[in-house]
Symmetry: C2
Subunit: 353 residues, 2 copies
């Protein structure tokens, strides 16, 4: 008899229209590979060598103001710049191999850094609800500003050295693009298809389904739900969804913002409690792109992805390597097992509370 | 004036039908994030604690034979098993949300390990041409065997701790699947489309184009070419291509095998020489799937991808994290710059020769 907790199977990710291989029996595998370095000392509230602390000088020579809430500045090493010159236009009638196989496109944009708090030692789970609301408000004002010029604005955070973060000072990033990046393009196609076929919104349908089933719910309040999606690739991957239609982050009511701050706090506290460590992840927001024509965005629904790499402990992560890069993402524990573990954890932080 | 070496742009990957963001000016960014651990001591030729050395006992209790060439055995912690029970068949007329959004599929297969050599301290670049030919022959016989039962057979190697490898003994893996994994599905669609539209083979066209242009060629011989593809995501990513039509690894002539061994040696020696370290990567083979119906595979061409994570030195790697996971792969140095560096390196190994 087939048992989802025991037998290998594939699950379908309707957002990216691809599969993930689930091999639950493989959790028993021993690990003698790389261990992640653990932060050994606790951080001070202010670090004079930090580029992001208030009043300090950055590598560019600019000086940070004595900020007290959030602080946004342009990345000193932006991957995207607004003034990039235009590529020569390619000739559509040119059927040479070169023209067919070597295709390039303009990429303009802007990259910003957002410090979540002046305190060097206060990541998201250590912030108060008010401070998190302040982060949300900052995201919203940046979106209002950048959406005037750009088609897409990616808000994200790389947390922890294991996720390529090089500055321990709590911060996120905002990269605005004059193009629709791959992942957004894929979601746009899949959400549209579902909407056309079913006359409803994929992610709203999904939020309500999970809210009724309960088995993959990590935490839930009146306006929001966090689940380990049925198709999660990373061991403790989660998806944060509103329970009402909501195209974009700028369109929330005060109540929704407040509840969002609360659920962000609950989730990040649980993450830290899981292995009693400052839990690394990359997280980011997806929502209706700022199409400049009048095309419909009805199929869109705001959501945040959390992609954390840890698998078994603070130092053992999942490697998405050989098979995963060349063939298909593969996971060991099931999303239901992950949800169960996260759900059972306290919302009181093991260190900060 | 637009300059590919200076200005941000996107490049199109025709194999996966997606884009990559190239930001050459960003190479100047300082790095104060995670450093990869460097292997400090040289390995012995035989290690009595190694699960893969000849004559040793594995974790399963099985004992390795005193092998002298390559050695293949079934993975003691396989992600896939041949005897997995069947999933209950889903009801197509059931239009419930659950049936629509929670889709699963059978996944059967087998996972094997292939030791490249009895010598614990001899990775690919330290093997002789004859020993590499022996590895190729082993790949071929496994393919002949496994293709009878399976639709896809993924041959790959995770090399180095940075790529999730937990056993330093030089080895690769072979995962056979009764389904077509995502990446193969994408390539199948893209190769077919190109073939239908142009009447020629995308990867053969590409190999010949690069062979004439030279600027992205890393190493080349009569039968094979290694390039940093125009659309490479990883800093020193390469693509190994035959210069004649070739559907699969089992179909090579003796000369092609011999030249393949030579080019694998050249490439892996160059990789090691780049940062004078045992260069980590995930590599693997893609070729025509073993479709069980009589459908055409004319659009297919054998190729190998090498995905190495290092960026600036033996200890600083590129992190494909926040923006990359949520939006689009991003690279700093251009593929042309990477090819130039690799091409100029000696084919004499900094340590073994
Ligand atoms: O099979 P191994 O070497 O134990 O494991 C390694 O390769 C696998 C296939 O790419 C991955 O799923 C694992 O995350 C990685 O650690
Ligand atoms: O922008 P940072 O923090 O310097 O860099 C980090 O995030 C970027 C965006 O995800 C990645 O491209 C880098 O590889 C990563 O190290």
């Amino acid at each position: 008899m087939f048992d989802f907790k025991e037998h290998s199977h594939r699950r379908y990710n309707p957002l990216l229209e691809q599969w993930v291989l689930v091999s639950p029996h493989r959790s028993k595998r021993p690990w003698s590979g790389q261990n992640e370095k653990q932060p050994t000392e606790s951080l001070p509230e202010y670090d004079k060598g930090c580029f992001l602390c208030p009043g300090n000088e950055r590598i560019s020579g600019d000086k940070n103001p004595d900020y007290t809430g959030t602080y946004v500045f342009q990345n000193d090493f932006s991957a995207l710049l607004p003034q990039t010159p235009s590529l020569p236009v390619s000739d559509d009638t040119d059927s040479s191999l070169q023209n067919r196989l070597l295709k390039a496109q303009n990429a303009r944009g802007i990259s910003k850094v957002i410090c979540f708090s002046p305190k060097h030692n206060c990541p998201m789970p250590a912030l108060s609800i008010e401070e998190i609301e302040n982060v949300i408000t900052t995201w919203q004002s940046e979106l209002k500003l950048l959406s005037q010029d750009y088609l897409w604005v990616q808000i994200f955070e790389n947390k922890g050295e294991a996720m390529g973060c090089s500055q321990p000072h709590p911060h996120g990033q905002i990269w605005a693009n004059d193009f629709l990046p791959n992942e957004l393009h894929k979601e746009n196609v899949a959400l549209k298809k579902y909407h056309d076929e079913n006359g409803s919104n994929l992610l709203l349908d999904y939020a309500l389904l999970e809210s009724s089933l309960k088995e993959r719910v990590v935490v839930e309040n009146e306006d929001w739900i966090v689940v380990t999606p049925y198709w999660a690739s990373w061991p403790f991957e989660t998806l944060l969804l509103p329970k009402q239609p909501l195209f974009r982050l700028e369109e929330m009511t005060h109540r929704q913002s407040h509840h969002l701050a609360k659920i962000l706090k609950s989730l990040t506290v649980k993450y830290d409690n899981l292995f009693e460590t400052s839990f690394p992840y990359s997280m980011g927001w997806h929502f209706a792109p700022y199409f400049k024509d009048n095309r419909s965005i009805e199929h869109w629904q705001l959501h945040a992805h959390f992609y954390p790499p840890l698998l078994r402990s603070a130092s053992v992560k999942k490697f998405m390597v050989g098979y995963e890069m060349l063939a298909e993402a593969q996971r060991d524990l099931t999303p239901e097992q992950a949800a169960h573990k996260l759900r059972d954890l306290s919302e009181k932080h093991y260190l900060f509370d």
